[in-house]
């Protein structure tokens, strides 16, 4: 997700598994999905996404936080300060779904399924 042109990765970064770029608009859906099970802070969201996608989807934080902000702005998620056990009890901002957010998630999931099925069909056609 680093989109700086002309910057080659420094050699001390070990290449990880092939990564996929996210399709436009899918990030919101994925974030909402990670929050369905309960409140998470930013880093936990990105880790959950990596785990759930077997390290294929790696959301650059340059995209994650603006997206969180956007979702909060639209009223789909809500942010609250709490303490994070894995960070040794440091203050962390936890995001959780609002009622609107659940509805939005459901709607977007339906949309996505429609879309991906359609794409899959096209690709299967010979």
């Amino acid at each position: 997700m680093l989109s700086n042109d002309k910057v080659s990765p420094p050699d001390w970064i070990t290449p990880m598994a092939e990564r996929a770029d996210l399709l436009q608009g899918t990030l919101d859906l994925l974030i909402l999905k990670t929050l369905v099970l309960g409140p998470l802070h930013g880093w936990a969201i990105s880790k959950r996404l990596r785990q759930l996608s077997d390290e294929v989807l790696d959301v650059g934080q340059g995209s994650l936080y603006p997206a969180l902000y956007r979702l909060e702005d639209r009223g789909w998620i809500r942010a609250e300060w709490g303490t994070s056990p894995e960070a040794g009890g440091r203050r962390a901002k936890f995001y959780s779904l609002t009622a609107d957010g659940r509805k939005q998630f459901a709607a977007e999931r339906t949309q996505w399924r429609l879309f991906s099925t359609a794409v899959e069909r096209v690709l299967k056609a010979t």
Partner: protein
């Protein structure tokens, strides 16, 4: 809640709690990086430092994210400006040496420019303090494009009577006269004026009334207007002054008005007291020397006035044909602005050119420094780019930094400029209206504008480099690979070359002016200024109304003066050498070679003297004889001429015995040349020193100059001589008692000031060029440490390394000097009129300047070269491998 309302509330909250939000955001991001690092450390077994570094990189675009966030808050631009300025200030604060030297260099340039701009503003741009000053003219008489002179009473009356193009015409006769308001009389500047003079200028007193047409009438009560300063110092203030009597040269005037405090002069002529000019009907066309000022009628042009005056001239010529035969002499209008500015524009152009060069060198210098600094900071800038700051943002940061630098330079420069204007007012050349120069709002705006332009130029290259996509490189290669790109090297060299090319013409101008000044100082004034002092002596008009009274006074006074201890000789003259422009001259016609009727007769400085004048001044007799007491005019008047006069009119060396008619007096007996004396410079040193003398036997003026030669220090004899002069007449007014040596040095004050000011600018320029070459070479040496280390390790001799660096510096300096020489050869031609006995392309002067500048370059190259030779090869190579 409606989304729009929510967003608005959020925006308000964002602005109100900007710092809190920013902190929260920061905290959130920090936590993210910390957790990521913790994870990396666990999974990949990395050291905490490595883990953190990787986490940061993986995070990507902190800056960009923050900005996206701020964008949403709608306060981005204000935020960023604030941030840019804070960041720039911090960055500058981190390198105090660079910052201080850049500010100092810019302050020098901007300060010099501000000072000169203030002077230009006061002298050239600002209007004269009279309404519609573009319609004011001074009228002269002109008989050739190069010869014009002020008018006579006859001229003034002819104009006043016959002109049709002016709404007002006024006359002014300037004098220094004894003025008394009850106590001891003092010699002050006095301007006898007609009421039309005030009307034409449009000047009315702030208190009381001005001179009216009724005051011009013969037999009117004598009245005068005084300056604010005179009223305060002598008459107890503006209001108290009106109605008080003032005695000017024995005539009692009543003060009727006081001028506004800003009028210390009128039409450029100084005066404390302005009595009404009581004109008597003229008996002949001359004598000349009066200022006539006129105001053009609405809608008429200078050409209209010139035609009108030409018509008046033809009409007047017929009236005075008996005493004035120069048919070519025509009345001409000259714009008062031009009269008052005189030579000022040329002097000002010289200074402006000098400061523009200094400013350009300063900018080139700081731009060079900035390049060095930019190379050192490439890593930092690249890191910001990698962390997601956009290019535009980084560019703005860099420009903000240079503009901030330039503005700091401007602040210091304005302070320097204020001091500079004060200095120029004190030591500057005699330029009209220089005394009115101050650093005004316009000058401050000018300085700030200059700073912004300088800032943009200085910051331009790093930004352009960035735009070409260089920003990312720094992280990878470190500063070595980017700081030393070829284009940067070339540009840095170009800056150094430019500095030398700009400094050379300035140094050349300064050297030529100084050379010319030294020659001027060595000019033989035709007399021996050591052990001589002069004093101006004025007798009160009441008791000294005729020749007999005055000559009796002088016979007794001179006898007393000669008995004062230390006095060797004393003589009297109506004017003194080195008097500048205000000099009595006379026309004459040689009997052997008369000029054709209707053409102008030759003119020469004409001094009336007693016999002892030559002895007192130390003027030598070359041929014939001096004046004797028997030279009493009458039927056989005599004159003595100077060597240059004799050489000009009688090159075969037979001046003695020749006869001439002087002053166009066809009925007078001709005068005979009885002697030739050494040349004395009456106007300014460097002018042609010809002249003629007439014995002082009749027509004694009430104000004469006494010349006293002493055995020892002339200043020590002044009190004794003054007492001797007063012992004959206690109410005599003495003024300007000065040793001749001081007059001598005052007469070359202008060229001295011009030369020293330009020399000052030139020294600054040379210093800046030296700093430029020093900085660049130092940087080169530090960048090429490894290469030099390898060379040394491979057996290169240290002298060779020193030579390599010095050669590099000298190559730039020599190229710059060559370009500068070409420019100087073109530019200094313009100086010709300011130079005395020096050609503007004087090879010795220019050669000396080039040698001097190269020597400076050599000195500036030496230190970095020594440092290069002192590099320890092992250490340099090790450092390189480690880095």
């Amino acid at each position: 809640m409606h989304p729009a309302i929510r967003r608005t509330l959020r925006s308000i909250r964002a602005i109100a709690h900007r710092d809190t939000l920013e902190q929260e955001l920061d905290e959130e991001l920090r936590l993210h990086v910390a957790l990521e690092a913790q994870e990396l450390q666990r999974v990949h077994n990395l050291s905490p430092d490595d883990a953190r570094r990787r986490a940061l990189v993986a995070f990507g675009g902190i800056e960009r994210y923050k900005e996206a966030h701020r964008d949403a808050r709608g306060v981005r631009w204000l935020d960023e400006l604030h941030q840019d300025v804070r960041y720039a200030a911090r960055a500058l604060g981190r390198s105090p040496t660079f910052t201080a030297s850049a500010i100092a260099v810019l302050a020098l340039g901007i300060g010099a420019c501000t000072a000169v701009f203030s002077v230009v503003d006061a002298v050239v741009i600002s209007h004269l303090p009279y309404p519609h000053d573009e319609r004011l003219v001074q009228i002269y008489e002109r008989n050739s494009p190069t010869n014009q002179w002020p008018l006579s009473v006859a001229d003034f009356m002819a104009i006043a009577q016959w002109q049709r193009t002016f709404s007002d015409v006024g006359l002014l006769r300037q004098a220094r006269a004894p003025v008394s308001t009850g106590g001891e009389p003092q010699r002050v500047s006095v301007g006898y004026a007609t009421s039309g003079f005030f009307r034409a200028l449009g000047v009315t007193p702030v208190v009381g009334r001005g001179l009216g047409a009724a005051d011009d009438a013969p037999g009117a009560q004598p009245v005068a207007v005084v300056t604010h300063r005179f009223a305060v110092e002598h008459l107890g203030g503006d209001a108290a002054a009106v109605g008080r009597p003032v005695d000017v040269d024995g005539v009692a005037y009543t003060v009727v008005g006081v001028l506004d405090r800003r009028y210390t002069n009128l039409a450029g002529r100084t005066g404390e007291v302005w009595p009404d000019a009581r004109l008597k009907p003229p008996e002949r066309r001359g004598p000349f020397g009066l200022v006539v000022i006129a105001r053009l009628k609405d809608g008429l042009t200078m050409d209209d006035a010139a035609r009108d005056l030409a018509r008046v001239s033809r009409r007047e010529f017929v009236v005075w044909q008996a005493s004035f035969q120069d048919r070519d002499a025509t009345l001409v209008p000259v714009s008062l602005r031009r009269v008052m500015l005189g030579d000022a524009p040329k002097t000002i152009v010289l200074f402006s050119a000098a400061v523009v060069l200094v400013m350009l060198i300063a900018v080139a210098n700081v731009a060079g420094l900035m390049l060095v600094r930019a190379a050192g900071r490439w890593r930092e800038v690249s890191l910001r780019a990698v962390l997601g700051a956009t290019r535009a943002r980084i560019a703005r940061l860099l420009v903000t930094e240079s503009i901030l630098l330039a503005l700091a330079g401007a602040a210091a420069g304005i302070a320097l400029g204020i001091i500079g204007v004060r200095v120029m007012r004190v030591v500057g050349p005699q330029v009209a209206r220089l005394g009115e120069a101050h650093v005004h709002v316009r000058a401050i705006l000018f300085a700030v504008g200059l700073a912004v332009v300088a800032g943009i130029i200085i910051g331009a290259y790093p930004v352009l480099h960035l735009a070409r996509g260089g920003a990312g490189d720094g992280v990878l290669g470190g500063e070595r690979s980017v700081g030393g790109t070829r284009s940067t090297h070339a540009l840095r060299a170009a800056f150094v070359v430019a500095e030398f090319a700009l400094a050379l013409p300035l140094l050349a101008a300064a050297a030529l002016l100084l050379n010319s000044f030294v020659r001027l100082q060595r000019v033989n004034p035709g007399f021996d200024p050591a052990h001589v002092f002069t004093v101006s002596v004025s007798l009160p008009s009441g008791r000294y109304a005729d020749d007999t009274a005055i000559s009796t006074y002088w016979t007794r006074a001179l006898n007393n003066v000669r008995t004062v201890p230390g006095v060797v000789a004393a003589g009297v003259a109506d004017q003194l050498p080195l008097s500048g422009g205000n000099l009595d001259a006379n026309n004459f016609d040689l009997l052997d070679r008369p000029v054709p009727t209707g053409t102008a007769q030759p003119v020469t400085p004409w001094t009336v003297v007693t016999a002892d004048y030559f002895t007192a001044l130390g003027v030598r007799l070359l041929d014939g004889r001096m004046f004797t007491p028997s030279d009493t005019g009458g039927p056989n008047p005599v004159v003595i001429v100077s060597r240059a006069w004799a050489h000009k009119y009688f090159p075969d060396g037979t001046a003695v015995g020749r006869k001439m008619i002087s002053g166009g007096c066809t009925t007078c007996p001709p005068s005979t040349v009885v002697g030739v004396v050494s040349d004395v410079t009456y106007t300014n040193l460097g002018d042609v020193p010809q002249g003629a003398y007439e014995p002082l036997t009749q027509g004694w003026g009430r104000t004469l100059a006494l010349v006293v030669r002493t055995k020892g220090d002339p200043a020590a004899a002044i009190p004794g001589v003054s007492a001797a002069l007063r012992s004959v007449e206690p109410s005599v007014t003495l003024a300007d008692a000065t040793p001749m040596a001081e007059r001598f040095s005052a007469s070359i004050a202008d060229p001295r000031h011009a030369a020293s000011l330009v020399a000052g600018f030139a020294l600054v320029a040379a210093l800046l060029a030296a700093i430029g070459i020093f900085g660049t070479l130092s940087y080169t040496v530090s960048m090429r440490r490894r290469e030099i280390g390898v060379r040394l390790a491979l057996g290169a001799r240290r002298q060779a390394v020193t030579g390599m660096i010095v050669r590099r510096g000298m190559a730039h300096a020599a190229l710059g000097a060559a370009l500068g020489l070409a420019a100087a050869l073109v530019a200094t031609r313009w100086l010709t009129s300011k130079l005395f006995e020096v050609s503007p392309a004087d090879p010795l002067t220019l050669g000396g300047v080039i040698a001097g500048l190269l020597l400076v370059a050599l000195a500036a190259s030496w230190a970095p070269a020594r440092r290069a030779a002192a590099i320890d090869p092992a250490e340099a190579i090790r450092a390189e491998l480690a880095g």
